[in-house]
């Protein structure tokens, strides 16, 4: 399987700063106010179409910020294979918006022709490593770019799993040549829901594998944490973030906020906290 690094695919110019997601309620403000954030992220599937308000907003915002396209619909770990039509749409979006980063998830999403439109967890087995690695490789070849693959939050674990999640992700990155997008909130949510060690997760990933970080808030439903991206980043996740950048270095860091979306100033303030922590790391390194 060809590794993209060997073909010289360049890393994008997204700075090692905090970025924010481009969401419909902020379209106008991001274009007119041009907040001081390092970059923006857009959900790829929202920009598949030829026209429409969302596409026009992204075109305007893209002229001011480096872009990361973040997909939620490919389900690259699906044993039934990759949806070629969906992949072609991602390719068209990449050609149109020229993102510096393109990411997807370590998950599956369809079986028997039905799509569940959710980020469903994989069993951490050798077979799943092979399937996800092969299909990430196929997607990278089709898209002509290196993908960053994100760990998902989990509410269940498969009895068949034989690997730790970080071992699974490291193996996929090693085989496919993809980078990893470390979602620190997802690590925290999964660790609390499934009784895992979040710090061991971060310590277990290869130092050179992670190229982007996500931070987000979560909700609590009884004893279960729900990854709803609907509140501020909690203190425990900020602490894990410090551990992560100490291990992986200063990296582009996204503040995800997709439900109960606050005013743009609140979102930007949260991104500034990440920028300050990144600045502290640089200060220590200087």
């Amino acid at each position: 399987m060809p590794r993209l690094e060997s073909r010289g695919v360049p890393r994008g110019p997204v700075p090692a700063r905090a970025g924010i997601g481009l969401r419909a309620v902020h379209h106008q403000a991001i274009v007119t106010d041009r907040p001081d954030v390092g970059w923006i992220e857009a959900h790829t599937e929202n920009y598949f179409h030829e026209g429409g308000a969302a596409v026009r907003a992204l075109e305007r915002a893209r002229s001011n910020y480096p872009l990361s396209l973040h997909g939620v619909g490919l389900g690259l770990g699906s044993a039934d294979g990759v949806d070629r039509e969906h992949l072609a749409r991602v390719k068209r979006a990449i050609a149109r918006f020229e993102p510096a980063l393109v990411s997807e998830h370590a998950c599956w999403g369809h079986s028997g022709g039905e799509f569940f439109n959710d980020l469903l967890p994989l069993p951490y087995t050798e077979e799943a490593v092979e399937v996800l690695s092969r299909q990430v490789g196929e997607a990278q070849d089709a898209l002509g770019t290196r993908l960053l693959i994100e760990n998902v939050s989990a509410y269940v674990t498969f009895e068949h799993s034989s690997l730790h999640e970080w071992e699974f992700l490291a193996a996929v990155a090693g085989i496919s040549g993809c980078g990893l997008l470390l979602d620190v909130n997802n690590v925290y949510v999964s660790s609390k829901n499934l009784g895992l060690d979040a710090r061991a997760f971060i310590a277990g990933l290869p130092p050179d594998s992670v190229a982007e970080i996500h931070l987000a808030g979560h909700a609590r439903n009884g004893s279960v944490l729900i990854d709803d991206h609907g509140s501020q980043v909690c203190e425990e996740v900020w602490q894990l973030y410090r551990q992560a950048i100490a291990r992986f270095g200063a990296l582009p860091t996204l503040i995800e906020w997709d439900t109960h979306i606050p005013a743009l100033e609140t979102l930007v303030a949260e991104s500034q906290r990440a920028d300050r922590i990144l600045g502290e790391l640089r200060g220590l390194a200087a």
């Binding site: 596409v55 749409r89 079986s111 039905e114 439109n117 279960v224 729900i226």
Partner: protein
């Protein structure tokens, strides 16, 4: 050991049926995924069909979505397409009932969705016609705005759509009868507009690629109507290109 395909098939079965076995722990948390999946599907349809939702009320709307998803589950990782078969489902589900018109209302809302995401191209002016010889006019083929959708119904669905842009609108008198019209996206937003049957027929013929002469014949426009209809195409910025019909060799 079960294969990845088997594990995912059993997980999928458990998402459809809470009683289906699935080798995960804790099994009760499968309900989170079940809820996420159904919520995402429902949310996509709530965005796409606000007028239907207003007309039938929240409870019945959710019931329809539940039945629709059983019959037409999502076939794409892009939920925009979740509503593609909703009108066909309602046509089947409501056949023979007094609510059969809801299928056409749903078709109109799906057209709105498709129109909103289509590109808006620069239009051409009527002066372009001067480039063609008089004998070529009946052979002219028009390219129309990609966002243009044309729809006819046995029911007054254009009136229903227009009356229900806010909550709590009174019912529309169904005795108004059949309506036809256009849906298109302008720079300033969506336009949903009923049309006279002859103009609708004429535009439908042009949109299907018929040359101008054939569109005139099909629509039964008289001379005055023709001038008006041709003027409509240009004044409404619907034409994006004109070419001369290429006839197959005799």
């Amino acid at each position: 050991m079960a294969s990845l395909r088997e594990l995912q098939a059993s997980f999928a079965a458990a998402l459809r049926d809470p009683d289906a076995a699935c080798a995960v722990l804790p099994t009760e948390n499968l309900s989170i995924y079940r809820n996420n999946s159904s919520h995402a599907f429902r949310a996509a349809l709530e965005i796409g069909f606000p007028v239907l939702r207003r007309r039938v009320g929240e409870d019945y709307f959710r019931q329809l979505i539940h039945l629709y998803r059983l019959r037409f589950p999502s076939r794409s990782g892009d939920l925009h397409w979740a509503g593609r078969d909703f009108s066909a489902f309602l046509l089947e589900h409501l056949h023979g009932t007094e609510y059969a018109w809801l299928a056409d209302l749903t078709r109109l809302e799906w057209s709105c969705e498709q129109s909103r995401i289509a590109s808006v191209l620069p239009s051409i002016g009527v002066e372009v016609l001067a480039r063609f010889a008089p004998e070529q006019l009946e052979h002219l083929v028009f390219a129309l705005q990609p966002s243009l959708r044309l729809q006819a119904s046995d029911f007054p669905v254009f009136s229903v759509w227009r009356a229900n842009q806010t909550d709590n609108a009174p019912p529309v008198d169904q005795s108004i009868g059949p309506e036809c019209g256009l849906i298109r996206t302008r720079a300033d937003g969506l336009e949903v507009r009923p049309l006279a049957p002859s103009l609708f027929s004429y535009l439908s013929a042009l949109a299907a690629g018929a040359p101008l002469g054939e569109a005139i014949t099909t629509s039964g426009l008289d001379q005055e109507g023709l001038v008006s209809a041709l003027g409509f195409v240009f004044s409404e910025n619907l034409a994006t290109a004109i070419s001369v019909e290429s006839k197959p060799p005799a």
